[in-house]
């Protein structure tokens, strides 16, 4: 299973499924991450974490650990 945490900078991926508790999913959904969403990894913070993603036309920051809950193609 490949997750969002393993994506390289500049890669565009598609979300396959959300993992984790309902709470985790609710929060990710409210930020626009659902099955089929296109996500681009824009950059990584200077200290290696968190990640900056482009989701549905805006910039979102997720910690690597939480990005691990997002399964991608």
């Amino acid at each position: 299973m490949k997750t969002l945490a393993e994506v390289q900078i500049g890669d565009r991926v598609q979300v396959r499924r959300l993992h984790g508790t309902d709470q985790v999913k609710r929060r990710l959904l409210s930020m626009g991450i659902t099955k089929g969403t296109q996500i681009e990894l824009r950059k990584v913070a200077p200290l290696g974490d968190p990640l900056e993603l482009t989701v549905r036309g805006y910039e979102l920051s997720l910690r690597r650990a939480d990005a691990g809950c997002v399964e991608v193609d």
Binding site: R26, L29, Y58
Partner: protein, 806 residues
């Protein structure tokens, strides 16, 4: 009289909600808190109809993700209070913003949608068919630019229409047939136990999503709950996905269909200005230097220079003797005043010398005395001889009158004193007003200028979008001890003063992080603790270089340890949901909004923190200046005051820390007014003088009688870490918005300080051969408990995290 009409203003963070709120309500606003939580509640009267209240809900992305903000918003929306929802959406980011809209449309209330930032939308080349969008959502959709004030009249007209009950209820989206039939079944199941409400559909969907808050609210019998659970599982099996994801996906798919039909042109592709700024600002190499410069500027301007000057002016000028208007005449006056001070010291030293020699000072022509000047922390700075001729010359030096040097404005205490004397007020009332109340009010207001400057920068950083980048850059560091990047600014500012530092925690979105930050930021050695460090370093460590750095190190370690330890307790355990942070587009903020936010925060400090500071100030003033003497309560010297009695009574508590004598205890208590008071109190109690000028005490030797190096450092540790000054406690009370949490915070700080000082002193004493075996064992036990709390695995760690690590 008809009930007051309320409109709820809901929208995503960064959608321009505050700007719209300000534009619609003008100056008629009030700020408070939602009951029981640290979330701010703002209400204002509509400009167009003053019996109509606009209630600003916290910025949320969803009604159902379980954060405190969302619960507050949802509870209010279903409370029956609002009769209309105004939903602001960011036109440059419709896809995510409309997610909340789809949820708001299910609440059974009329909704008016304001599409904000239409000016930016036009510039980027997007064209949106708002009529089509309105038809699809079945509620009015109006273009506005809150920033430019465009479209507000039409929006107000729609709101007034809504208030009159002329708007239809929005038609909620329908889900696929299998989900709809499950919702209908859930409706049948709960009908016998929960009466139907206007927001019925929203409730059904929440139950379908297994929303714990909603289930708790309904208190369904076990049979009903399990029947619902069984029904949900059937749908989940059918779609091979969980209920939460299903509903979320369906919402987004509906939004995408909506936008496909109403977005006429989509002018994306080229880099926006915001993108270009961000390329530089959060660049992997440049991010940290830029960040350091910005932070330095904020700190430098608000704590060291502009804010510091204003605070000094407020403390020493406005609430001190007075000040020179625009500073004119200050230098000349200071020079003269210094001459006068030196003359006073010469006279004092010469007369003492003469008295010791049994001579009349006037006649002691051959006598020579010596004046020694001490620096702020007691170190010797200069010494010079005083001859008889010098003495006579000194007698002629008169105290300079500031009014002769420039436009002099007397301070508030001076004016009040004049008024009291003119009114012939009795002694105790005179003292109460002047030393108790006026000094207390001064202590509250003295912080305000510094805060205004800081709050100005905070509002600017928030409004322009850089605040989110600070959190982005610093998150990695702060997360390792249980906080997030958003805690950085409160901690940084606390190194100057904990009061604005604690107030800066307002910008932290997550409530638990906010509480933890408020509880630990006062550990930082603020400006007022520096003289205490300097005094101890000078008196007992011969100004050793390592005392000040080690004090800083101990304070920062206290924050790290507390973060790690407290995060493992349930009340502070990380949010069950992940840390998500929107990095909003950079925007030029509207000056009015920045100024308003600055004034609002400063006012809320004065109002909510002021009372506690004032009361505490008056109490300590009374306890230090009055005592039981000759069978009555009267004004006494500090060493006979009620405070000294209290100090003696409780000094045994501090014996295990190595400083169980009343002077140290009294100094600690007076330090609660302001930490630098510890130094002044030591001056009085160990110096033995009735009055001690800042540059002339000789207390080092006396202190060495009462303290060893070990107990002095233990005293220093305790005073750095224990409960902060009253002003900071007031700020904590303001931010925690709960007496219980405030008590917890200061109780924790004091307990932590006690334990750390005890461990330090007892272990130190053992190694230097003066310790007791019992103390050693207790210290080891406490150290063990601390290490256990520090190192034990986190019992609240969420499982998703563990499996997600790759």
């Amino acid at each position: 009289m008809s009930r007051e009409i309320a409109i709820a203003l809901a929208g995503n963070p960064n959608s321009g909600k505050s700007t719209l709120f300000n534009a619609l309500t003008g100056a008629r606003q009030s700020v408070g808190n939602w009951p029981g939580v640290t979330v701010e509640k703002k209400t204002g009267r509509l400009k167009a109809q003053s019996d109509c209240q606009l209630v600003d809900l916290p910025g949320i992305y969803s009604l159902a993700a379980g954060s405190v903000d969302e619960i507050v918003a949802r509870d209010y929306l279903v409370s029956g209070e609002p009769s209309l929802i105004l939903n602001i959406v960011d036109g440059t980011n419709l896809e995510r913003n409309l997610y909340l809209t789809t949820q708001l449309c299910e609440l059974g209330l009329p909704v008016v949608v304001a599409v904000n930032m239409m000016d930016v939308v036009k510039r980027t080349g997007d064209r949106i068919d708002l009529e089509r969008l309105a038809a699809e959502l079945s509620c009015p959709v109006l273009p506005v630019s809150a920033l430019l004030g465009e479209g507000l009249d039409a929006l107000t007209a729609a709101l007034l229409q809504g208030i009159r009950g002329e708007l239809p209820l929005p038609q909620p989206r329908t889900f696929p047939a299998a989900i709809e039939s499950a919702l209908a079944d859930i409706a049948d199941l709960i009908r016998p136990v929960a009466p139907s409400v206007p927001g019925e559909r929203s409730r059904l969907i929440a139950l379908f999503e297994r929303d714990a808050h909603e289930m708790e609210r309904l208190q369904l019998p076990a049979g009903v709950s399990s029947a619902i659970e069984e029904r949900i599982s059937r749908v989940e099996a059918e779609f091979d996905d969980d209920a939460v994801s299903l509903i979320g996906q369906e919402r987004y798919q509906a939004i995408q269909r909506l936008l496909a039909s109403s977005r006429l042109e989509h002018g994306r592709g080229q880099l926006t200005v915001s993108d270009r700024i961000d390329l530089v600002v959060t660049n992997r190499i440049l991010a940290l230097p830029i960040f350091a410069v910005v932070m330095f500027l904020v700190y430098y301007l608000s704590v060291s220079t502009v804010g510091g000057w204003w605070t000094d002016w407020a403390n020493d000028g406005l609430f001190g003797d007075g000040f020179f208007f625009l500073g004119r005449g200050r230098e000349a006056y200071d020079e003269k005043f210094e001459e006068f001070e030196l003359a006073e010291m010469s006279i004092e030293s010469f007369e003492e010398e003469a008295e010791a020699a049994g001579l009349e000072a006037e006649a002691a022509t051959d006598l020579v005395s010596e004046v020694i000047l001490f620096g702020e922390s007691g170190e010797e700075e200069d010494r010079f001889p005083v001859t008889h001729a010098d003495y006579l010359a000194a007698l002629d030096v008169e105290e300079p009158d500031p009014a002769a040097f420039g436009p002099w404005v007397p301070g508030v205490p001076v004016l009040v004193e004049q008024a009291l004397e003119a009114g012939n007020v009795s002694g105790w009332l005179h003292d109460l007003v002047l030393d108790g109340i006026v000094a207390g009010v001064g202590a509250v207001l003295g912080f305000v200028p510094q805060m205004l400057v800081l709050f100005f920068f905070l509002a600017l950083l928030e409004a322009c979008g850089y605040m989110a980048r600070i959190a982005f850059v610093m998150d990695r560091i702060f997360r390792s001890f249980g906080l997030s990047g958003t805690s950085f600014i409160p901690m940084l500012v606390s190194t100057g003063c904990a009061v604005p530092g604690v107030m800066a925690a307002r910008t932290i979105e997550n409530e638990r992080d906010r509480r933890l930050t408020v509880a630990t930021a006062p550990f930082m050695p603020c400006g007022a603790k520096l003289p205490v460090i300097a005094l101890i370093a000078g008196a007992l460590f011969a100004d050793a270089w390592w005392v000040a750095p080690s004090a800083y190190f101990a304070s920062i370690a206290a924050i790290l340890i507390s973060g790690i330890v407290l995060k493992k307790f349930r009340a502070f355990a990380g949010d069950a949901a992940p840390f998500v942070l929107e990095l909003p587009s950079y925007r030029l903020p509207r000056p009015g909004d920045v100024l308003r936010s600055m004034l609002e925060r400063a006012w809320s400090f004065i109002k909510r923190a002021g009372s506690i500071i004032l009361l505490a100030q008056v109490f300590v003033w009374f306890a230090t200046s009055y005592g039981w003497a000759d069978g009555a309560v009267r004004a006494v010297e500090q060493d006979q005051s009620f405070l000294a009695v209290l100090g003696s009574a409780v000094s045994w508590i501090f014996a295990p820390l190595g400083w169980g004598h009343w002077q140290a205890v009294v100094a600690t208590i007076t330090g609660l007014i302001a930490k630098e008071n510890v130094v002044g109190t030591f001056g009085t109690l160990y110096g033995g003088f009735a009055e001690v000028s800042e540059s002339g005490w000789e207390i080092w030797a006396n202190m060495r009688v009462h303290f060893t190096a070990l107990s002095a450092y233990s005293f220093l540790l305790f005073n750095l870490l224990c409960l902060p000054c009253f002003a900071a406690i007031g700020a904590i009370r303001r931010e925690m918005n709960s007496a219980r949490w405030t008590l917890f915070a200061i109780g924790y700080q004091t307990g932590f300080a006690y334990v750390v000082s005890l461990i330090f002193y007892q272990l130190g004493a053992m190694f230097s051969g003066t310790g007791s075996i019992i103390g050693f064992i207790v210290a080891l036990a406490l150290l063990g408990v601390m290490l256990y709390l520090l190192l034990r695995p986190n019992p609240n760690r969420r499982p998703a995290l563990a499996t997600a690590r790759s």
